[in-house]
Symmetry: D3
Subunit: 232 residues, 6 copies
């Protein structure tokens, strides 16, 4: 099977890093195709960035469908364009925020999120409400470094992440930590080992959930709300 | 003061009709500028349409800001791109769905929505949750005619609207009806008179709310979540 | 148009101060009539005070209706007697708490409330639940000075208000502040300027919302729950 | 112990009937004192009636406290003035709506309410939200007869009540029925026997809950929100 | 009447202590029968302990029903096996957590819980959601001593309890405190006196609630969800 | 990897049928071990049945852990004993109700449940609340045939299921159907084909979710609430 992992921003380093994380957990038979739009925003740090990125990512969804990929991943923690993408697709589409929430809820009663900028907190909060996870998320922490620092300033962001995850583990009454950015995927395993608590990254979670849906023969429902966009 | 009323789809008849409705309630000193994008979708009937429309409407928000308009109205009942628009603007930005909900809640304990297609119901439901109006909305009814019929098939849509509003009044235990599409604005007054119940249209509601904010000297907060998009 | 602004307590200084705030934002064509009951409680600082005040304010609503005012404002942050007043009135009736919440939600994702006494917090909390704003209110702060100090001890209350608004701005992750007492209206503009964040006072907000409803020709619904009290 | 049962309307037949119901379940050692205000409204059928009744009932609470009664019951299904009464009292105060909800939730997973007029439905709905019982109440039914018919038209109201309770039992997926008016207390036992399902009346429920609190030595908390009204 | 008070763990000291607390508030005519299973877990400190305890307590419910007791109390703060017990019983069954929540909500707007171990917090949180008390519980505090210390280390646990209740009273904005363990019943009265705030213990609360139901002639509903277990 | 699929009732036909469904979707490298307790209840049709079944299934969880299985599935739609099982296990444990909800929410905005008996509806409702899926579940339908009929009366139950799923598809405004019983697994594929709408069975969903967690190296968190049961 082939999964298209879409980094909705235009930062190629992040696309590569996300693709690598995805490949590491993919089954032998799964091919990971990491893509990103050629136009749009170089990082997604607010509602405006999301709206621009959503527009461009929908074109990639369309292309992926034409190439008959077996699933799409929206690799930005705000899950931008998710419902719109599902209207375009028959293959399943999964956002990395929802993927991480689903997985966290299967192995812990509560989780905390560690994400990038304070101004993106509201986006995570809206997703928690929309998806029904408010009572399972103890707290949202922000390292308050720009998203691109995850690529250009790798060591410092790792250090900040580690510290914040450590204090989340101690103080939040949780059983798991969710990393709130596609660019953090590469650090999940290390932090989990160092802190001895499950640390969930949405990119890898989404890969395995797409594989799970594929194994079930379940695709995006075309009955009702996710039907193809109306022809005018 | 000048208010930019944005019809986010490309149907000029609807832009004109919305502009006319807006002008009818605007104060003498308020200039209504009705605009619509030159590109995008001809009607908004789902999440995909919304995402495309949001992209193009943001360009109009930007232009409006450069022209120093005093407020922006997003004249589509799903309030597409609202949070993103607020990041771009210092002038207030109001969506017609939220406008209608606010006004309805000031004069009735409960309202019902009468909108176009069943597949847009989910969009209204998400807004009700996000804005906090779930317990004040009794029911969402759909006339199940395409959005464009509101322009091309005016008499039939009016008839269907009237019947559905009538049965909402009788059966839903409500005190007001909210019309769920910018293209329905022109019918609000008539239906209200015929049925003798407040019928609220978001376009006119948004005009008066923008004027209210203007009179208060209150603009979109630039402290926190609605700050200008981050420069990278 | 004429708007009756009702201070539901018997403190005339507060009635005057509220009337002045209301007049400052009213349109040229709007006449503000500030009234208060001759009997009742001198300040409203709990449920009992509210119940007594509500009784007397309803008489003022009735008188206002006889005088054909075009709107009523209940200028106490607990919105006492609001639903009862709407049953008596055909003109719209707006409470200053709901007015402030509506306005705040149009320009910020979240707000905090700064109010007077800790024991009135529960009243604000119940309103947030009833109106559907719990997820948009970050925190309720109390300066813990009696309501009457707002008139007799103006400088100290301003100072306390300012400090509390400042810390709300820094710590609460908000975009706007709501002042939780009619007697605070006079300080809103100053604090907003000093702190550079929208500070919303319900008295002025309610004036502009009533004007907005008037401009829309929308009055309190007499179909259903807000119908006139039953004759026995 | 002495329990003051307050019928907040001025209909003496109802006061007597409520007092009789209360006495039938009271312990031997409990004296029931059924009172009603000499002024106010003759029946409570909306928010306005509630506000007027609350004012007058508070005077009775005060008198009861001076007479050192051991508990107060507010025998109107909207629990008017409940929080205000608790500020005045050290003895416990219980409303018949909350009493009925508490009891119902102890013996069934869900209940339906059968009350008088459609326009009082909104009052019950607000109480369910405020008290936290929304998910335990399946439906609110209205017999749509005026409250006073419960006294003047006893046989017809009984018949209507019985029919509605019967259909609630069959259709609502419930385990108990709550009667939504103090004047219905006298019918609870009969309906329960005829329909073979627990039918809960708030008047009798409140008597036993007050006795329970008395037996526990638990009185209205004077720490915090229910402290005595502030002296000015 | 006879009430069976079931300590669902096998610690006899706790059974005795709970029985004694129950007897102290029971009416003269009420006989308290304190029982505990001979098999199971010696203390209940998590979901596993609850599941094991529930199994054994159901046998005691069955025995109690055969002996025609007039009510059952499940004297563990997680209310383990409550719904299952109600299916077996015609007599009312009450858990001590729900009993305490009911009583607290009748005399205060908000309460805090002081319980034993941090890992049992999630159990209390789930009950608050299920019963509808989330908005009335300000905070859950844990003394973080094992349940059995309540018997073996009485003085230290009392001291810890007292300190935590003291800080809950000061900081939580509450009107009452709920003790979160059957083994804490014996301390409720003392702490309440020392701190001058209602301190509610679920064991005694449940006794009086069962007596109240008995006085009303209300038993567990056998219509619907709590009907006897299906015969296969 | 080896997954232990636990049918918590003692009906061996159902254990076999569930095992077969599980095997059909399992990856080549996954071994399915279908087990059921030798004691307990022959079918689970209420809270009492659940409590008994939970006790016995925990012994199977313990045995599975000793045999180092890589995951456990609780194949009863009420997810009995789930939290308790997670305390015993390091391997992930998934209930079939949560599994089905997770999968449904990834491919549709809303789903309906079609389950067996009306009296089990309350169990599903509680799970929807606890897991956060209330707003995504449109309706719960019951075919009102005993669970064991799924084995002994296969054709009739299939026919009833099909009809109910058909009407759910037409009337509920959904995009997917969730089958509410382990014994229905065998019919999911057929119904989905006939009705052309995704029909999700929790048994197969849980298999693929366990495989997904295994692929991520994510196991039940032993930090916090799901830590091993306390030693006394």
């Amino acid at each position: 099977m082939r999964i298209q992992v879409i980094n909705p921003n235009t930062c190629l380093e992040m696309t590569n890093s996300i693709g690598k994380s995805a490949s590491q957990v993919a089954s032998e038979k799964t091919e990971i195709i990491a893509v990103s739009p050629s136009q749009g925003v170089v990082s997604i740090e607010g509602h405006y960035d999301e709206a621009i990125a959503a527009f461009h990512l929908l074109e990639l969804i369309r292309q992926g469908e034409q190439q008959h990929v077996d699933g799409h991943i929206i690799a930005c923690f705000g899950d931008p364009g998710l419902a719109a993408a599902r209207e375009l697709a028959t293959a399943p589409v999964i956002g990395i925020a929802e993927a991480a929430f689903h997985v966290a809820s299967l192995i812990a009663t509560k989780f905390s999120i560690v994400t990038t900028l304070s101004r993106t907190k509201i986006i995570a909060e809206h997703l928690l409400i929309q998806y029904g996870y408010t009572h399972q998320c103890a707290k949202i922490h922000c390292i308050d470094l720009p998203v691109l620092d995850l690529e250009t300033n790798e060591q410092e962001t790792y250090q900040k992440l580690l510290e914040m995850c450590q204090s989340a583990k101690q103080d939040d009454g949780i059983g798991a930590i969710v990393l709130g950015c596609g660019g953090m995927a590469k650090h999940a395993e290390n932090i989990s080992k160092v802190l001895d608590i499950p640390v969930i990254d949405g990119v890898t979670a989404a890969v395995k959930l797409i594989e799970a849906l594929h194994g079930l023969g379940i695709r995006t429902s075309k009955w009702g709300d996710y039907d193809y966009p109306n022809q005018k």
